[in-house]
Each structure stands twice: as C-alpha cells, then as structure tokens.
Subunit: 344 residues, 2 copies
C-alpha cells in the first residue's frame, strides 16, 4: 500500500503558494512502540497552519522537507498493542498524509454524535474554540453587543450564532457582501460589515451604535486596532487568532493601543487556547449538539475532496475564499451509510 | 475668612510647569442646597491630575481658569442641613483650595484607623488601588514573579509589599538606584531595576529569570512594551495608570503589541478603577491596617506643607522626585494630639 504525503517543500517567502508544497509517495510507516497506524479520513485546514511555518507557537516550527502538519480524524488500521482497536476513530495530529504512525497517548477517541464532519467543525476544535472563547473568556450578557471578525469563517460563524442564542446583538466582520448576506439572512446576525469596504470604519460604527462589549478577534491587524476604539466600558477582547499576521514573513508585527484607555474604560484583553478547557469539552459538546439538533445553530462546512487539494485549500483559506469550516476529505468515512449502501 | 485657590491658569503645552498655575484669594464659597462647607486638611497629589488636563477621562476635562481638581480629606465646617455634623472628616473631590462647598452625597465619611495621612496613603485610594489591582485583577499565586513599575511611588510600593506578603518574587522598576536600594533594603523587594539605566532591558531580564507572571503597570510607554515580551504563559498585565503618557500634549499615543502572542501565551491585559470595588473597600482597609499594624507593610509617605507648594509638588511628582505617597498638608489635622497639646 502506498502512502501519499504532502511535504512543506520550502519555507514560504511572503504569501503562501501551492507550490511551496510537494506531493510524494512512499510506503506505509512502521508504528514504533506505543504508536498506532492510522488512516486519515478528514484533514482540518486552519489559519494556524500558516503560523506554524513562521516560528515556534504552541508547537515546534515546521521546517522545509517535513510532512505538513494538520489536525486529522483517522481510523486505526493497526492498534499495535496500544489498546486501540482496529476501526476506532481518533482525532490527532496526523498531518497531510494518507497514513500516519501516531503515539496512542496523543490520540483522542472520537464518538460521532452526527455526521463525522461535525466532529471537525461544530463539535470539534472549531466549535469548542468558539464556545469557550465566547462564553468562558468573553462572557457576554444578554443585550450586549458582540462583534466577531472572520465571521463567515469556521470559528467566527459559530461565535456569532452562540452570541445570538445568548441574547446578544451580533455584528460580523467579513470579507465580502456575499458573506455578509449569508450572516444576516441565514445565520441570524443583526448586521455584517465588509472590512474591504472603503467606508469600513463608518459602517462598523453604524453597525455598533452602542459600541462593542465583546470583540472576538480572529484576525489581529488593522481590524483589531479599529475595534479597540469602539469598546465600551468593561469591554472585552477575546484573542483567538491573528490571521492578518500569519501569511507573511514577519509574525512580530504589532498593533498599537492606548494604555490610558485600558484604565479609564476598564478593558480586558485576553488570549486563550481551546486546550486550556479540556476537562469541560464533553459538556460543551453536549450543549453544542443540542443547539444543532434544535435548529438554532446551523453547521457551516466547506468540504474539499482529496489530499492533493490540500495546498490550494489552505492558500485559498488564507485569502478568505472559504465559508465555514474547511475540511479536506482524504478518504471516505468508513461508517458512512451512504458509502456502505451506494458506494462512492 | 479668606479662601486661597490654585487655578489652572492655562492648559499646559508639553510638560507641566509650576507657572501653569496661579494662586488667587477670594471669599468663602456659599454652599448651595445639599452642599456642605468643608475645610481642606490634606490634598492628594496624583499622576492622574495631569491626565485630567489632557481630555475627558473618568471625569470632565479640566479647563484653564478652573480651580485645580484633586482628592482631599476635609473637615466639615458647616453642614448646611445635609446631615453632616461640624467637625466630621470627609474624603472627596475638594480641589486645590482652602475651602470648598461640596455635595454631601459625593462625600465619604473618614474614620481614621491611625494617622490621618494613612487615610490618603495606605488606607486610602492609593493603598486600595494597590490592593484590588494586585489581588483582584492580577491574582498572583505564591511563587510567581510580580513586576511593578513606578515601584517607589505611592501605589507601586504597596503593590510590591502586598506581593511579598502573598509569597511572590517581587521586582520593582523605578527611576534611580537610590530608590532601588530603598525597595530592596527597606521594603523587601527581591530586585529593583532603574528604567534610566543604559542596560535596562538586560537588567530587567536578569531580575526576572523565570519571566513575569503579573506586571502591574503604572507607566505605559516603552517600559510596558519591554515588559510584554517577558510575560510567561498565562501572564497578566494590570493597567493602573500610564504616567509616561500624561505629561505632554498627546494622550492618544499608543504602544505596540503582538496579538498572536496574546493567543499562544494566553495573556490577559486588564484595566481597572478602584471605584469598581467600592463595596469591598471596608474589608480591604481592615486587611491593610492589619498588615501595617503587624509591621509587614511599611507606610511610605512624602508630605509637603502648604497649599502654595502644590504646583511644584505635582510637577516634581511627574518628574519622579517623590518616594511613596505625595500629600500636601493644607491645614493641620484638627484631631492631631500633638497639635492640641503643643500647637503648631
């Protein structure tokens, strides 16, 4: 059996391009002691993938020649005495390849509540990030104004919908009028503003006439700077990501803020990682699944087929061409009834 | 009876100077309905006094020709049917003058635990600011490193001593080696660094070999920027003041920070005002008084005599020539036993 792998061929210079990657084919990896052999089914495409190329983050920097890293949902094909049974679904750090030998202690068993893709979108890291970032860090109160950037993106759309469910006025910042209409017409946002508009600053102020109580920041950069001026007394900024800073050579570029205003308005700016809330993941998943089931939380997914499509999927994500959670389907879901019944 | 008043003669241009003020003498104010006539005993000199001249903060901007604003401890000389008895000590916003007619509902009765000056330093707004900023906002744990700027100043010295009492490693940033020695030799700081040193960045890193868990910021500006890079995972910055931004024409100048680092290190940056914690003031005063009584919290005061000394006292404070809480004694304490026994 072959194992296709997408390598980071070179460290990107400036904006990431598809030819910064190369597709190679080798043999199946041999799992070492404590490792299981896993077949990739779904591959998560995330803005953070690009940040990993810039330097050390919460993981080591990715270097040229390495298999591109990425979060995966896989099926165990050989448990190799790790206690994992063949056929078990696991979430992990499998990377951009068909097969990976992964340490069992770093895998999390996946027991799908609905479609498997939901385990990577609304019930996976993406949805959990929105849940804890908004509710545990931002802590919005009913009637408050919640602003979210990259609002049509994987995390942003869930943040906005959760804020609506919690009785807030919800404003989304996105990159096109088409996405804006999706937010207001389909997902129940109160307003949407495109950061590409010539009148962005004015439109943002008009969309937030009372100012902003919670700003959920996925982008950093000029949008963040602009938003800091709109924060009300006791306003909060949840730092979830800084995609405006990822797709280039320099991740140290800062944004400017006024420390005196921090005091007078009693602002709180706070960053978080979803892994900080691991013990609370099960209860959050139950809550999220309940809202999905009840119809108040729509699931927005953007599924691309085939491992070879991963490079363009990431390049496009960084340019903002996705709507909702972008996932690469590397192999068919072994438990999908359609596949079993009809084949694909 | 005469009423001396110090006016803000003109809006300062650039750095504040003593001749931006003028001393005038008028007659006693007539209290309106709901107001009491109060005689100023102590006048608080605070960096924020300068910020009030720059624009609207938590109070209206001070304009040229107005009596300079300042926090006071006064004695009621005419209750004027407000329910306040003659002789009652009150804290309020009396300004730089011998007598003020003040709305009774905006006065707080002062019941001194020790010397009256303590009610303006360690047991007053200054000490309470240190207490709530450090313990309620910064929330340091034993063994953590707490860094404080303007560490020999009114709030800073209390912050450092409270952090020591709570089992932290304490590092102070101050403006001279003389102040640094006071912090380490007299107040129990583990280390002190002068921001005026040519080797400031290196000395700061050496003083915080494990990085910084809580940075209590009184200054803003380049010192704040430098410190952000030293924050450990889950590091916190308490924004209490930004004196580096006050003594000039432009208070909008910002400092630069990196939003990506906010996420990866899960930093929290939070501003506060001591008034946010009003219901908890009595219990905090009891705690602070206990530490003073027990000898673990030293009281650092810098008392200047006479209303006419107030302008140079503020100009000097902004240049950093004070040690501890700077207070102008406008009139003798009516309850001071020394005064009663020996006269002054």
């Amino acid at each position: 059996m072959e194992n296709r792998q997408v390598l980071l061929a070179r460290r990107p210079s400036g904006r990431l391009a598809a030819d910064d990657f190369s597709l190679v084919t080798g043999s199946l990896p041999e799992p070492a002691e404590g490792e299981a052999l896993c077949r990739t089914i779904l591959l998560s495409i995330d803005p953070a993938n690009r940040a990993w190329m810039q330097g050390r983050t919460y993981r080591d920097q990715l270097d040229a020649g390495e298999v591109m890293a990425g979060f995966t949902i896989s099926e165990v094909v050989d448990g190799n005495d790790t206690g994992l049974s063949r056929g078990t679904l696991v979430a992990g750090d499998g990377g951009w390849q068909d097969y990976a030998a992964l340490p069992a202690r770093r895998l999390r068993a996946v027991e799908p509540i609905g479609p498997l893709t939901h385990e990577m979108s609304v019930l996976g890291i993406t949805g959990l990030t929105a849940y804890f970032g908004l509710l545990s860090v931002g802590r919005p109160q009913p009637g408050e104004t919640v602003l979210v950037s990259a609002a049509a993106g994987a995390t942003g759309n869930v943040v906005g919908q959760l804020a609506r469910i919690h009785g807030c006025r919800v404003v989304g910042i996105c990159g096109s009028d088409r996405k804006g209409r999706l937010l207001t017409d389909e997902l129940g946002f109160d307003a949407a503003v495109s950061y590409r508009s010539d009148r962005f600053a004015e439109e943002l102020r008009q969309a937030c006439p009372q100012g902003v109580d919670v700003y959920f920041d996925n982008v950093g950069g000029p949008v963040l700077e602009r938003t800091l001026g709109l924060l009300r007394e006791r306003g909060r900024v949840v730092f979830c990501g800084a995609v405006a800073h990822y797709d280039g050579d320099d991740r140290t570029g800062g944004i400017s803020f006024n420390p005196g205003r921090m005091v007078v308005r009693r602002l709180r700016l706070e960053g978080f990682l979803v892994s900080d809330f691991l013990p609370e993941w099960p209860s959050a998943r139950t809550a999220l699944a309940g809202w999905v089931e009840g119809g108040s939380l729509q699931v927005l997914e953007d599924v691309v087929d085939g491992l070879d499509a991963a490079p363009t999927a990431l390049v496009g994500l960084l340019a903002g061409d996705n709507v909702g959670k972008r996932i690469v389907r590397v192999a068919p879901d072994p438990h999908d009834p359609e596949r079993v019944l009809g084949g694909r």
